[in-house]
Symmetry: C5
């Protein structure tokens, strides 16, 4: 799945580069000051908008999104059903050892709470709070990239206006007008490329990851509560499969 | 209904092509590199944004939307009323055989749960979860096309800026300016056409399908619960018809 | 009220036409192929987006919005209070005859349910479902016009780019540039006029109608439930008047 | 507070006028047909979108927003606490006389309902309905100005395209191109000024007024219910002050 | 954290200035009347939109956002757990002295209410009202900057149109066209810079502060209610840590 992301970035940048090369060479699209104003300005505006801590955490968030695997919803359901069977046979307390090897930290936490004898309402409340704030925290990473995706084109526009004003103030030599405008357009170009190939799709990716994780966490909460309630394992399986799409179920 | 979609795409593309032909021929609107940058860039940005699995599933989603018939709400109500009558006469268990031939898988599942003696609250919860996640999954297909509908014009703009910069850097021969700008505009053209005739309307179509299915599924849940509760078939009919528009009811 | 809509369309189109005539004649703004591409393209994109049935139903929806009168909230309250008085004096069953002459079909349906001895919860549920799906169905008509209001300018832009590309490819004779650009701009013009004078305001009108109807239906539900509960007519009057604006109440 | 609104309109228009005057005189910005098309077109589109009644009520809504004072939340709390003290000492019925002099009609109504012996649930329901529909009605005024704020620039664009088409069709005399384009731009100018200095800020003002009133009405409901419940006046004071900002409380 | 904001503003403005200086000097970007029309117009439109009181309060809101520290969620939890331990050992009343030294005013208020013997429901309602209206008040500061961030570019556009109209009306001397357009573009430049480097990021910052504070206040309410209920301190710790991100918990 992460290969897709990298493939996407590489192919999109590749096609854009190809278009630049075939039309007369890359060098006319390279302009360090223009790049500086767009990237630096976007960083600056983001620093005003977001806490420093969050800006620095971006690398971690991205690494997470690319490398860490989301616990698979399909793998999870049989495991929860197994836990339910064992709880029925040998009692809730027998899950204590398994809680530590749970494939998902939230599942582990939920089982520990159940083993510790917390009431179902308390378990539900604690796990639900965890999900609420988890999705809120994930949202923040997406918000950061979304904001960068709106600041970048704006900085591109600002850079282009600066270039246009400078060009318009000194038009004595008509032959310089074209190249000057070309350079002025580069900041708009950088802004559009950064926003549409990098920032906005990455914001979308983080939002997607967040909703996948939300599904998994919802299954876990439902499962832990059902185990605690001593539900029939077959009933639990039915309940949890309702979270999956028909295609996912067929492959089960 | 699917004829409408195909008719829409054909007529819109036809009119656009007509305008291109009558104004001097199609060939000046064909530019493979421009098409590559718009389509490839859109694909690339989407690959970053969405899991590979979802991108590959797009063909299935579309085939579904065009070929699969949504169970008709109008046909469904008399069938549910029939089931309610039989349940009253011969008991809930008599529905077991009918559950397998139910015109809609959700109806079949609901009936089986009822026959198996699940409590009404459990049935409602299982079926409601199914609907919740069904509409969320449908939403994703629409999201994908919506995103492609915003990336395509952005890629068109990027391509046009590349063309403009190249043109502005080499304006020695004024006679080349016009054609160069014409070519630069083609990516914007491709982006606008793909977005507004294909991606955005298809996103809308998927959203519409989703809300139609939601109506049908809501009727089924209400119906199954009423049957389980042993409601009077006439009362059930009243309740379910409230979901329909007056026009749909007249034709009943 | 419908006079206002027609007045609005006529005056806006009139002013636009006046501006066209005084600046040199209407004929330079008439271009059948341009009109075809904008209207046909908008239709085409809408056919992809919406079911054929809904597209064909548009005429009915508009006729409805212009000709059918919304039951007036102000007239309704005294009628409901009258019904409540009679129900108190002569019993709920005495409303049976009046149910058939109710000024609003939902009121009639609610009274019939009450007379038939349905429980308050069932009545509330049936009527509430009816409102929920009523407003959803109304929303769809507004959605259709809203979508046409975004497709029309997009088609205008596509047409203008086609015209510009054709013009830029053949600039040998400078005297043709002006008129060619003028023609290219016409699709943008048609798109803007159709969207802003027709489609978007009509979408707004349908949304407004929907919220007016929602108010009336809410009053009816509250009223029927109060009658069923045997509330004091004066209390009912108080409750229902809370739905009205102070100005509407003064005129009562 | 209303001085601010007038100050804002005057200063913004003043600065714009100054810029027009210093650059060569106001007369080149005055063009009656251009003004007509923007204002008339905006009115026309709004007439299609909104009921005539609402359009005519706009003057009243604005007069209200500028002249009528919102009951101050800070003044209200001590008054409610006083009422609570009296109700405790001399009974609920002793509030009857005070109900008629209540500083806010909703407070008067709530007290009357309490004195008349309505049950707390009924009182809450009636007052809550009143607030719901109050804020919905206020929203409509804001919606109208918001819509005018989107129609005005659109009409400006339509006018400018008309002007451009007319100019492009008759470019024999190059010296007329500049002035013709200047005139064509005027409708865009009028649309931008009307939308951004008048319509959109006024829509914002109405939304702000609505949320201020909502705060006051929420305090009143909470207060009336607490009085009816016979709460300790000191407890009521605590509860109601929670609605205020710390700064407002200090000044109490 | 506030250093980040200042760093962001300084670096973004610095990069923009650098681009201006290297391209021929700052002086061609300085135009007092243009600055006046953008800033004055933005102020004017905001004065229409927002109450004077709020406009004047902006300085205080910003000072707050930059200087006042948000109570740290991580520091708060051990303190609440300590309070819970003491309440269990020495009774709720023993918290009276500590209430006055609470690190957060809301915690102090909550403890006082608990000590005063308010019922849990009352405490929850009072504290929840406080949070509701707190976040609503914070939202207003963000709304103000957001509105200024949309008015500023609009004023920039208005200024540029004024400049263009003046230039187009007097094009006798072609050598003045360039500089006149350059000056006309300056208002657009000012509008874009103010909006994207100052107003919009500051609106974002205020929204972020608001959500941080919301987290802290939610922890406090949950904590106070748990203390009042006499929960086990270890259970309370578990419950409150669910609000934190895993990274925050590790550092605990």
């Amino acid at each position: 799945m992460d290969i897709a992301t990298i493939l996407g970035i590489v192919s999109a940048f590749g096609l854009v580069s190809l278009a630049m090369v075939t039309g007369g060479g890359l060098q006319m699209f390279v302009n360090i000051p223009s790049l500086l104003i767009v990237m630096g300005g976007t960083m600056g505006a983001s620093l005003v908008n977001f806490p420093l801590r969050e800006m620095l955490g971006v690398v971690g968030v991205l690494k997470n999104a690319f490398l860490q695997r989301v616990t698979s919803a399909r793998d999870l359901i049989p495991q929860i059903v197994e836990l339910a069977k064992q709880a029925r046979k040998e009692g809730l307390l027998s899950l204590e050892a398994l809680a530590n090897q749970a494939p998902d930290p939230l599942l582990g936490k939920g089982l520990k709470l159940a083993v510790d004898g917390y009431e179902p309402q308390s378990i539900e409340k604690i796990l639900a709070t965890e999900i609420d704030y988890l999705s809120e925290r994930h949202q923040k990473g997406a918000d950061l990239f979304q904001a960068m995706g709106t600041f970048a084109p704006a900085m591109g526009l600002i850079g282009t206006i600066i270039g246009l004003v400078q060009m318009l103030q000194s038009m004595e030599d008509p032959s310089t007008i074209g190249p000057a405008m070309a350079v002025a357009l580069l900041t708009t170009f950088y802004g559009a490329v950064l926003a549409n190939i990098l920032f906005l799709p990455l914001a979308g990716k983080l939002r997607n990851r967040s909703s996948e994780e939300f599904l998994v966490k919802s299954i876990i909460i439902e499962g832990v509560l059902s185990i605690t309630a001593g539900d029939n394992p077959r009933v639990i399986e039915h309940k949890l499969q309702a979270f999956l799409s028909p295609r996912m179920r067929e492959n089960l």
